[in-house]
């Protein structure tokens, strides 16, 4: 059941910060098909979270956000929907799993209530039905003694279990798109694989498309069909995952690849981090944003910004002097 689900066109998300206005997402365009798993990878601060929150239009309370461009979801532009319509989509058509399950579940509400409220409000189930459904859901997430967990508080559960609860909540309405923003970064390494497998299994089961955000190209290469590399608010490379892993065109991508901990190497192996820092979003340089850290930089890179271009097939990148593989 393929077909276009989401199309993001020239999306710009500006944040008003204390030191000025900045574009945390800058001219980003991409498409996602139904059931596809789409990875976004990039360093801290590259704008992955802001991008994903713009899609679902949920931002932290205190900062003013303005957006430009289009987010077409099943033919409707989410950016121009009234808030009331958008709310119907949230948690029903598009769901989200957050990074830290320690802080994303309400500490003073019972687990059961936090699942049941979605079933009642989003799916219109009765209180009794939603209770049974919640138990079923928890069972299918691999949560032991699920009936007993209903009356537990988040503090009684481990991080991994909490993330399973969060996934149960997100997957309860069988959404068409799931956004998972670094769903395993806060978890113990031994649990990470389990949670990623669970996400994969659940999204496959309901033909749910997933946007999987991660720092780790290793994770992305294993769990996604397509991948975009984000740097300083921009997409700098995007292609089918296997293609990107084989033929990175943009120097930043290959630098990221070299910095990935091998999945077989023991945990806490030192990363080969990329030298230097990304430019401040408040004053981005003229030309390529990766110029200061790029080993293949030449004159043109300082004066002109490379556009993201298609290079045969559907491999896009943003670089004047792509790598020759």
């Amino acid at each position: 059941m393929a077909g276009l689900l989401l199309e993001v066109v020239s999306l710009v998300t500006s944040l008003a910060t204390k030191s000025g206005k900045l574009n945390a997402v800058d001219e980003v365009s991409f498409k996602i098909d139904r059931g596809q798993s789409f990875g976004i990878v990039g360093e801290s601060g590259s704008g992955k979270s802001v991008l994903s929150r713009t899609i679902i239009r949920v931002h932290a309370e205190n900062r003013i956000v303005s957006t430009k461009g289009e987010i077409i979801f099943e033919g409707r532009n989410l950016l121009s929907l009234p808030e009331k319509e958008m709310r119907k989509i949230r948690g029903r058509e598009i769901a989200m799993v957050f990074q830290n399950p320690m802080s994303s579940l309400n500490p003073v509400k019972k687990i059961g209530e936090q699942i049941v409220e979605v079933l009642i409000q989003k799916l219109g189930l009765s209180r009794t039905d939603s209770r049974y459904r919640a138990i079923e859901l928890m069972n299918s997430m691999g949560i032991a003694e699920s009936e007993k967990q209903l009356s537990n508080y988040p503090m009684n559960l481990s991080g991994g279990m909490r993330q399973r609860i969060a996934i149960a909540i997100a997957m309860a309405p069988e959404p068409k798109l799931l956004i998972a923003d670094e769903p395993t970064t806060a978890l113990d390494v031994t649990i990470q694989g389990q949670i990623l497998n669970l996400l994969q299994e659940q999204t496959n089961k309901f033909n749910t498309a997933i946007i999987l955000i991660s720092h780790n190209l290793g994770v992305i290469s294993r769990y996604t069909d397509r991948v975009a590399v984000m740097y300083s608010g921009q997409f700098v490379e995007e292609s089918a995952t296997a293609e990107l892993m084989k033929n990175p065109m943009m120097p930043y991508t290959s630098a990221l690849m070299r910095s990935v901990p091998d999945l077989t190497s023991p945990p806490h192996t030192k990363l080969r981090a990329i030298d230097g820092m990304p430019p401040s979003l408040l004053e981005t340089p003229q030309g390529c944003r990766f110029q200061e850290r790029c080993q293949g930089v030449r004159d043109k890179c300082f004066s002109e910004m490379p556009e993201i271009i298609l290079n045969g097939g559907d491999h896009r990148y943003r670089c004047w002097y792509p790598l020759e593989n």
């Binding site: 205190n62 957050f98 500490p107 003073v108 409220e117 409000q121």
Partner: protein, 318 residues
């Protein structure tokens, strides 16, 4: 829990001890004593008869040193004897028992109204933080914060009792006689207290709510597609009410002083008026009795606040 309550009650002993000792010596240091009051010193047509006053003092045992009097009173307290009024002979415990319900009703109604105003105001100002609505309500709260309680009481009495005649200006009707009349007679006094009380509660709730609204679980609740109203009421309010509960507890204690003023203005026969009158007529034992009651109330309020913490947050219960 029982152990905890016992520990709290043990606290009560030194507190009561210290507070009663202080107040005993303090009232004793005031010029004049109850013998003067009985003999009519200070009234216009009094003829001062030193010998007669001395006689009264001896009868009442006031000629003993203050330390002796304090400890004999204290010994009485441990056997449940709070003494009696020098002037009327009424038992202190009886005088307080008659008036305590009036003050309790006043404080509870006042606090109830204050919370009733403060919760919506706190929620709206937090939700609209920094916006026009927030600024308007905040200005109003500061105006009320700055106004002394007697001014508010007088304005209320003038507006709703004298001009509009909606409520009685003074007087007390027991609940058993006329429930509706009773509530009417308490409306203005409790409103006067509530109006000085709610701004603080509203500010406290606003600040905690603003902090809660930054939390990840609120973002998550939004991502679940729940309505803002539902999120505020069912996700944010409860974890934001700790300081509120604490301050309600503290303010209940502070309101007692407000009650003194408001009871006088609206002529409610409560503990507040009893306290004022007793200090005027140097009825030390009556003052002492009231202070013991206040200390006990203080500890009980604290206890209830602590229990509420546990009700609000499972993490405190562990």
């Amino acid at each position: 829990m029982l152990k905890y309550i016992r520990r709290k009650l043990i606290h009560l002993i030194p507190i009561t001890f210290a507070v009663t000792a202080l107040s005993f010596f303090f009232v004793d240091m005031l010029p004049g004593d109850v013998a003067d009051a009985i003999a009519g010193v200070g009234t216009d047509n009094s003829v001062i008869d030193e010998a007669a006053i001395e006689e009264i003092r001896k009868d009442l045992g006031l000629n003993r040193p203050v330390i002796v009097r304090y400890f004999s009173w204290l010994a009485g307290v441990f056997t449940g004897e709070f003494g009696k009024s020098y002037q009327t002979g009424q038992l202190v415990s009886e005088a307080i028992a008659i008036r305590l319900p009036v003050t309790l009703q006043l404080l509870i109604m006042a606090q109830f109204l204050a919370v009733l105003f403060a919760i919506p105001a706190g929620i709206i100002t937090a939700y609209k933080a920094g916006k026009f609505t927030d600024k308007c309500i905040t200005t109003i709260t500061f105006a009320f914060l700055a106004a002394p309680s007697f001014i508010i009481a007088i304005i209320l009495a003038f507006l709703f009792a004298v001009t509009l005649n909606w409520f009685p200006a003074t007087g007390y009707i027991p609940f058993s006689e006329d429930p509706l009349g009773n509530l009417r007679s308490f409306t203005l006094p409790s409103l006067a207290l509530a109006l000085i009380e709610w701004p603080i509660l509203s500010r406290v709730l606003r600040n905690d709510l603003i902090e809660t609204l930054q939390q990840d679980y609120i973002l998550m609740a939004k991502a679940k597609g729940l309505s803002n109203f539902y999120i505020l009421m069912r996700h944010a309010l409860r974890p934001s009410s700790f300081t509120l509960i604490t301050v309600i507890g503290i303010q209940l204690g502070n309101l007692i002083s407000g009650a003194v003023i408001v009871e006088s203005i609206f002529a409610l026969p409560g503990v507040g008026t009893l306290l004022v009158n007793s200090i005027h007529s140097r009825e030390i034992l009556m003052v002492q009795g009231i202070i013991v009651i206040m200390a006990i109330a203080y500890v009980i309020i604290n206890l209830v606040v602590d229990i509420l913490y546990g009700v609000l947050d499972p993490r405190v219960r562990e």
